[in-house]
């Protein structure tokens, strides 16, 4: 526990030691705002909610989250610090969890800084605050899922660019799993069960359910188990690849 906390502290501080954190936050806020107002038609809709804001989150995360996750392990392997890190008296679980939580809290900070939108919508009308809170929770869970996938992929390579590109591709598949892009390829020859299974992996449908204010345990379990599975894969990948 203590080791996890120490790793977490160092990792979180590392984001703010370089311009990475500030650039990420600024770009995240700028894009989130632009999409909400210009593409999402925040004002034109005339509704006091944050649907236009949350709708774009999967697409925003799709390429911003890999930029965070790509360095998690690939950088340690590139600089050789992984040898130092993994010979310290900490368990693999602490190492994986400490790094992951730091990245997740960091995205949480970026997400929390969109609070002026919540204030804006509250001033303009009387939104359902429960739904907005649910949207934030869902968004953060989804970000955590993208991150966990990215962390596992980052452990497989020394090259951050490869980690970024592969994570983007894998996350894209998870994002659009339930959409015609993927399902049309399979319809006609794949069994219905496979089709439904793949569709059920769609981040968008799970996220939309939560962001409409329906906090269904199944959606929470979906993201939770995906994170847990990815972190297991992460630990296994580190163990497998650390020597190369």
């Amino acid at each position: 526990m203590r080791a996890t906390w120490t790793v977490f502290r160092r990792e979180l501080a590392a984001y703010f030691a370089t311009p990475l954190a500030y650039i990420f936050i600024v770009i995240f806020l700028a894009l989130a705002g632009a999409l909400t107002f210009f593409v999402g038609g925040f004002f034109e809709r005339g509704q006091a909610d944050l649907q236009p804001f949350f709708t774009f989150h999967p697409w925003l995360y799709l390429f911003l989250i890999p930029a965070i996750s790509m360095r998690l392990w690939a950088e340690e392997r590139k600089t050789g610090t992984i040898e130092l890190f993994l010979t310290l008296p900490i368990s693999m679980a602490s190492a994986v969890l400490g790094k992951y939580l730091a990245a997740w809290i960091f995205t949480g900070i970026a997400l929390a800084l969109t609070f002026p939108l919540w204030i804006t919508v509250s001033l303009l009308g009387s939104p359902d605050h429960g739904i907005i809170l649910a949207g934030y929770i869902g968004s953060w869970l989804m970000a955590g899922s993208y991150l966990a996938i990215g962390a596992a992929i980052s452990a497989l390579t020394k090259n951050q660019v490869i980690a970024f590109v592969v994570t983007c591709a894998v996350c894209f598949l998870f994002t659009v799993a339930g959409s015609p892009i993927v399902l049309n390829v399979l319809t006609g020859w794949a069994p219905q069960l496979l089709l439904e299974t793949i569709a059920s992996f769609s981040f968008i449908s799970h996220f939309q359910a939560i962001s409409r204010g329906v906090i269904d345990l199944r959606d929470i379990i979906f993201f939770g188990s995906l994170i847990a599975f990815s972190l297991f894969a992460n630990a296994a990948a580190v163990e497998l690849k650390k020597a190369n």
Partner: protein, 324 residues
Amino acid sequence: MDEMIVVDGLTKRFGPRAAVDHVSFKVKRGEVLGFLGPNGAGKSTTMKMITGFLAPSSGRVAVCGFDLEDAPLEAKKRIGYLPEGAPAYPDMTPAGFLDFIARIRGFDGAERQKRVIDAAAKTQLGDVFHQPIETLSKGFKRRVGLAQALLHDPDVLILDEPTDGLDPNQKHEVRALIRGMAANKAIVISTHILEEVEAVCTRAMIIAQGRIVADGTPLELEQRSRHHNAITVVLDSDGLTDVKLAAICATFEGLDFVSGVEVGAPNELGRPITIFSRGRLPMGPEIGQRVDQLGWPVAELRVERGRLDDVFRDITKPASKQAA
């Protein structure tokens, strides 16, 4: 608990190639063991297995009685490790980095600060304590790595090329530091600087192709050199013709306790010839007497102790050449 490191049948295979092949040894408290060997001999891989970074393909390692497989955290707590190349987080300062290590090592409050300051003082990091590690010179980076390894005053120190990249003064300081700590620790260092072995090690081990090919004190290893008890005579080169030189060499070669004579390149003192002893036995008086009888001025006469690099080359060169 006298045997601090116990390595038993340690093997690491990368595909079909065995990087480390059934290596067994023990290191006691107070010993400084020097790993010698050509590049790729398996020195670093062995160290990576002792410190628990790599899992062995077979064999076991125990540090202070804790098996690296069964109780890795207990073993790792007792090890200070400087990995090859002294990696450290580039955007941290030595201060921040050492603080992180101290926290991970379980130190709190005033004790943590004291440990960090002590480690920085021992390795003389003062001037760069608050500069990002990526801006430091190679020598300072190495010292940050050393500070990190020493911080918790471990019973076992594993240092992979601790003086690589240091200037002669820094090398001297690091060696003095290692010697100073040697009495109550078990230390393993790897190096390919042979003089370092003589300077700090109580025991040297030569590794080639993943196997231990020699193990002994530096003196014992030197005795295996053909230079051991050889005598070098530096002849005054004024008027020394090739014919005369050949005649002098022949005088020594004719002695039954001499196995051979080698003529060296002329230097500012004169022309050195090295007389090798059959069976590496002392032959000082006998040769001294013959030199007096030569009637040729001699600039220098010295008995060789033996050369580690000789032994190193003899032992580690490929088998085909050894047979020849």
